[in-house]
Amino acid sequence: MDLKRMGNQTVVFANPPVILSSYSVVGPKEGQGPLGKTFSKVWKDQLNGEKSWEFAESKMLREALEGAIAQVNVPSGHIDFMLAGDLLNQMISSNFAARQLALPFIGIYGACSTMALGMALGSMLIDGGFARYVLVGVSSHHDTAERQFRAPTEHGTQRAMSAQWTVTGAGSVLLGQTGVGPRITSATLGRVVDYAESNVNNMGSAMAPAVADTILNHLHDLHRHPADYDLIASGDLGAVGLALAGEVLKQSGRDMGTGFTDCGVMIFDANQDVHAGASGCGCSAVVFAGNIMQRIKAGELKRVLLVGSGALHSSTSALQGESIPGIGHAVVIEA
């Protein structure tokens, strides 16, 4: 059988799946940021009338998933699989959103890299002939993440200068076998890489080697150069991680040039007091579903490499002194 796999870690789709629609819902702080106008929907507050932040996050994910379905003429009964993930224990946001949507559901966890992972898996399902339509969505919420991973929100503490701000947002895409829209042409699934960073207030530094490893393998597997892409965007490395990944790639023989950026750097302004930038599943999801999709459709970007970045630790492993393993998953989107 003819394998669709290239090189070390990359899959190339014979019939590249189409991104039929995308939808993004964000919280108020994200709405006030520089990309505010590119999101489909901005909530007025962090709760949006729900009784807890966890309920609110699940609702936000549901709105994003339903929003993507509503934009195209695909009856929801025709959607073969829903892939979703989030950061909360046992992925409650996704599970409870899936309860309402009643679609065959695959919960996936790649920490903040989940959007790229879901797009890669969804494309594999479609190109493999197992599905015609796959719905992919992820969410994160600043306050649910704070209380699970860090301190209660009203605790009077100072955030480290390298700390990142978890995005309150949910993004989704509907992938189809045929149709009109940008296509996902290949994907490089990452290895878990751990360079012994154990500071939970410096996730960018923990994830940068993993992202660099995935980009290095991607370029090698497809015999490409950074200049072959109009945009290479990592998921949520933040300012510290982005600089580190660039430096690591440079020392490994790949100069990324000026087209290398990070969704976590794009989504907030310097004056929004987020320190090193944004993080969270929702970060790369809403930036891709909003800003990047618009720029692809407008013809500004022809070929984009989205590299989701994930920190695969838990609050338990951090307390027990383990370092933070990182992962990077890359998908190529072409107009």
């Binding site: 080697p209 490893d213 090698h220 690591v248």
Partner: protein
């Protein structure tokens, strides 16, 4: 399309080199600014405490009772400012200046308890009241007992 190439692309930075790179790229805490702010915020909180002590003395309490009553008042103020959502803003500015005073102790009690109200009044509020206060009482009381025992045998 099958093209099973052998491995090779691996980043050429060693973990040791990465550690120094990470240190170089990670912004340092602004220690001087933080220290100045901690000094002023901590100093002002203690001044408020002193004024409350002085007022209790004027009201007729002796020095020791006035000091105890002032501590209870400061705990009340710290707890209330946390409930009103003000204390975390003071903390962001003042750092240790608002953590070390007894008002910071009150903040560390109310902040988790209030947030876990949605998980119920017994296992939420009741249990989380002691997330930080628990360790403080454990180590404080245990130390005082050891001090008392040592004192007993020395005298």
């Amino acid at each position: 399309m099958a093209n099973q190439s052998s491995r090779q692309p691996t980043i050429t930075v060693t973990p040791e080199q990465y550690k120094s790179l990470a240190q170089q790229y990670t912004p340092k805490p602004t220690v001087v600014k933080n220290v100045v702010r901690a000094f002023f915020v901590g100093g002002i909180i203690c001044v408020i405490g002193q004024i409350i002590i002085n007022l209790f003395v004027i009201a007729g309490l002796n020095r020791i009772d006035a000091s105890t009553a002032a501590t209870a008042t400061m705990i009340f103020l710290g707890a209330m400012l946390t409930g009103l959502g003000v204390y975390d803003e003071i903390g962001k500015f003042g750092g240790a200046g608002s953590i070390v005073p007894i008002t910071g102790f009150a903040n560390s009690i109310v902040a988790p308890a209030m947030e876990f109200k949605r998980e119920g009044y017994v296992l939420g509020v009741g249990a989380k009241l002691f997330t930080v206060a628990g360790p403080v009482l454990v180590y404080g009381i245990a130390t005082s007992i050891v001090v008392g025992i040592v004192y007993f045998f020395l005298h």
